[in-house]
Each structure stands twice: as C-alpha cells, then as structure tokens.
Symmetry: C2
Subunit: 253 residues, 2 copies
C-alpha cells in the first residue's frame, strides 16, 4: 500500500491473511512492515497467517501508515523459520529499506555480496542484499537525484529478474518500487469512494465513511483483493514507482 495520508490496512489485511492457509496455500509464515514517518516497524510470524495470533492482533489494531508491505510465504528455497519470512529489511543512507518477493531465482546466490549479508537462506534475501550492496557501492551517500536512484533500482531489478520469477515490492521509506515479471494487480482508491467487498472473506467496507475527500490510496497485490472494484493488471516487465498513493513513474521493458 502507498497512501498520501497515514491509512490503516486492516480491511485489505483481513482478506490477504486468509490466503495464508485458508483460501490460499501460502502458509509458510508471513510478515508485515509499516512505515510511520521515518520510523519502521514490522511484525513477523513463522506460522500460517490464517492461524497466527500476531495476524489476529494486527487485523484488529489500527496502525496508520503511508506505506505498508505485507507478504505471505510459500516456501520454495529455505526452510520455514522466522529468519526466512519476508519482508526483509536493512538500513541504507539512514533509511530502512524493506523487500518482499514472490518467485524463484536460479543462480542468484552466485552474485557476490557487498556489505549486506543474508541472515536466512532464501534466494529472496540474497537478491535484496545484492541490490542494496550495489546501490551503496554506486552511491556511498544518498544520491540527490531521484531519477538516478530510480534508474539504478530499475536496472538492478531487471538484472535480478533475469534469474527467474521476480515479482517484488521494495520500499526505501519514501518510494514504493514495484517490479512485475509474471503477476501483480493494482488499484487506486480516491474520491468518489465506493463500497468494497473482499474476495477472501465475507467483509465489505464503505470507504465513503472511512476516508476524507482528498485521500489517495493505492493497493498492489498478487491477485485482486476485492471483487467489485476495477483492478489493473501490471504488464510483464513493468517497473513502477509509487509515492504518496500515486504512480509516479512506470517503464515496461
């Protein structure tokens, strides 16, 4: 999620967590990361999200955030354990970067790391550490040019995607970088707001009652989370950057 005002994710989260063991098979742990200003906090659990006590708590407890990344895991590489749950996070230039990935990456572990080392054993965390190491090597301090940074992130994503399936959400606390090479859908909610119905749970919310006129909230997910709204499919090879709820940049290769 990317939003222009701190927004809670309770509704979308209520649908997504069902896919971790109830309406879907991604039952090998889950995690969620919230940005609150420069602050970052994440909640992780190595159990199925549909049965997780931590998930139940998060579902009921409203944390208002301008960027949220949530991931439910289906283990391919790396056993089911806390250190292998996404989103992964690391600090670069005094900002917390976070990363959630869907897919498998062949041969990614041959890529030489530089300053960031995985804690767990997933190909995903290795890819994330490699990207951050490359960024820090290219820019020992934060680049003043947003475009230079974005171009580098795009180039690195495309290089990783050459190793297999790489659908990814990555944030640097300011921007939400999205790369799609098989499947991602997205939706921007803004006035006039309507009622929305979850796909995975018998729950609907009337966003007219929950939002202010100027709110802009974008949600990106592997599969649409609601049944009555117009989700757009991302193109294969699409790299997009969201900021404060708006798609600021997109490039398809």
């Amino acid at each position: 999620m990317s939003a222009n005002v701190p927004t809670d994710i309770c509704f979308s989260f209520s649908g997504l967590i069902k896919r971790g063991g109830e309406t879907g098979s991604h039952k090998d742990g889950w995690g969620i990361a919230f940005y609150e200003g420069k602050g970052y906090r994440s909640f992780h659990d190595p159990v199925a999200s549909a049965n997780s006590e931590v998930a139940k708590f998060i579902q009921q407890y409203s944390i208002k955030s301008t960027q949220v990344i949530c991931h439910i895991r289906k283990a391919n590489r790396g056993r089911v354990c806390l250190e292998n749950t996404h989103p992964f996070s690391r600090e670069l230039w005094g900002q917390i970067w976070s990363f959630a990935h869907n897919g498998q990456l062949k041969g990614i572990k041959k890529k030489k790391l530089n300053g960031y080392t995985p804690v767990g054993t997933t190909d995903s965390e290795h890819a994330f550490c490699w990207i951050l190491g490359q960024l820090r090597q290219a820019f020992p301090t934060k680049p003043k040019s947003k475009i230079k940074l974005r171009n580098s992130v795009e180039r690195l994503c495309r290089e990783v995607a050459g190793h297999g399936v790489f659908n990814v959400l990555m944030s640097d606390a300011e921007n939400l970088y999205v790369y799609c090479n098989t499947k991602l859908s997205w939706l921007t909610r803004q006035a006039p707001f309507v009622e929305a119905q979850l796909v995975d749970a018998d729950l609907c919310v009337d966003f007219k009652k929950e939002t202010a006129q100027e709110d802009v909230v974008t949600v990106i997910a592997t599969e649409p989370l609601t049944s009555n709204e117009q989700w757009a499919k991302m193109a294969v090879g699409e790299f997009s950057v969201f900021r404060l709820g708006e798609k600021e940049f997109t490039s398809v290769n």
Copy 2:
C-alpha cells in the same frame, strides 16, 4: 534475558511495562526484541508501555526465545517517535545485532560513522551505529576468535562510556553484551526454582511449575523486577557477556 532453552518473558515483561507510565516515568515509547534461532523480531510502540495495546498483546502471547532485550524510554535526546524507540537493530556478518541503552552521551555525535547511519535522532542510535561501523572496519568478516570479538566490543563500550552514562544491553544473536556504568542488576534462575513476586504488579509465578530441571535463565534490569529474590548489583565499569543463561565473562575497569 539470556536463557539456555527458549523461554518466554511474559512474567518479567508484565512488571517492566508498568514502569513505562504507571510505576515509573519511562513513558516515551518502548520496544522488545526476540531472538529465535538466527531469526529476530521486534515490537515497537511510540506510546507509554503501560497503555500500549502492542504491550498488552506481548504480555499475553508467549514467544519463546533464548535472548530478549526490552527497553522503556525516557526521552532526553530526540523526540518521541517510532524511529527513536529502542532496541535499535542492524545486520552485521549475517547476524542481527540489537542495542538498548539507558543514559545520555555528550558529544557522541561527533564520532564519525562508517557504514551504519542512524534513522532517528537519539545519541543512543548514533553510539550503536558507531560501534558496529568500528567492528566491521576491524573485522570485514566475522572473526573466528570469540575472544578477539569480545575484546573489541568491550573496548568500544568503554570508549562510548567516556561520553557520559552508558548502561547498555547489546546482542549479536549469540551473546548478550552488558556494560554498566551507573546502574544494572541481575539474577540467574536455576534449580531449585522458587516462587517469584513482581515489584511493579500484583503478580507472582511459581517457577517450579513453569520450568524444567536443567533450565538456566538470567534476567538483567535497571532495577530488580522481583521483591523476594536475590538480585546482584553490577559494578560500575563492569562489562559482562552472557550466553545461554550463563555469565561467560566479566571484567571491571
């Protein structure tokens, strides 16, 4: 806490959180970090722990861990916000290091950083980033000698302590490093286990019923958490290392 078997912290936590706004004045946010194998998860809240919904959840939800670091904040340097809550964490050599500090450090921000940059504005996070940067400079890869590493951590702690008050708990996922320059107390629980009564809440627990014969659990706190057990005061200038519940090393300067 340092323990030889995964142990939950619910009892001690129930007392400690009261000190954040109820029985004590450290009401400017709080955080807790759990190590589960190589995995690490932390919970942070920028509100008083005595009134925190996240704290209520943690109090009731048993997370079993061999190392836990918890901190309740009294803001001196740096405003009250999520990014200024301890414990801070960073990855070094593929391990998550975490750090909680009590005290104020004069002039610490003049110390030049190297690879780790604070996200928030506290003197504490600056000290932590400086220590990790120094360690990585001295040891680009993890030193094989535990003694070399421990000596470096001790030297760096003593250097930081020269800037003011530095009571600190720091973990590298394997060892719990403790430096005391004004006030810390500690206690090791092992067989024969007894009943313990919290200082800050009307709660007692009979550890005979909660533990196995071979369990060894050490708790370190600014002030004793229980009223009927023998807590030892750490010496001023004491640097100690705990591992799997046991004090493995101590040095007073």
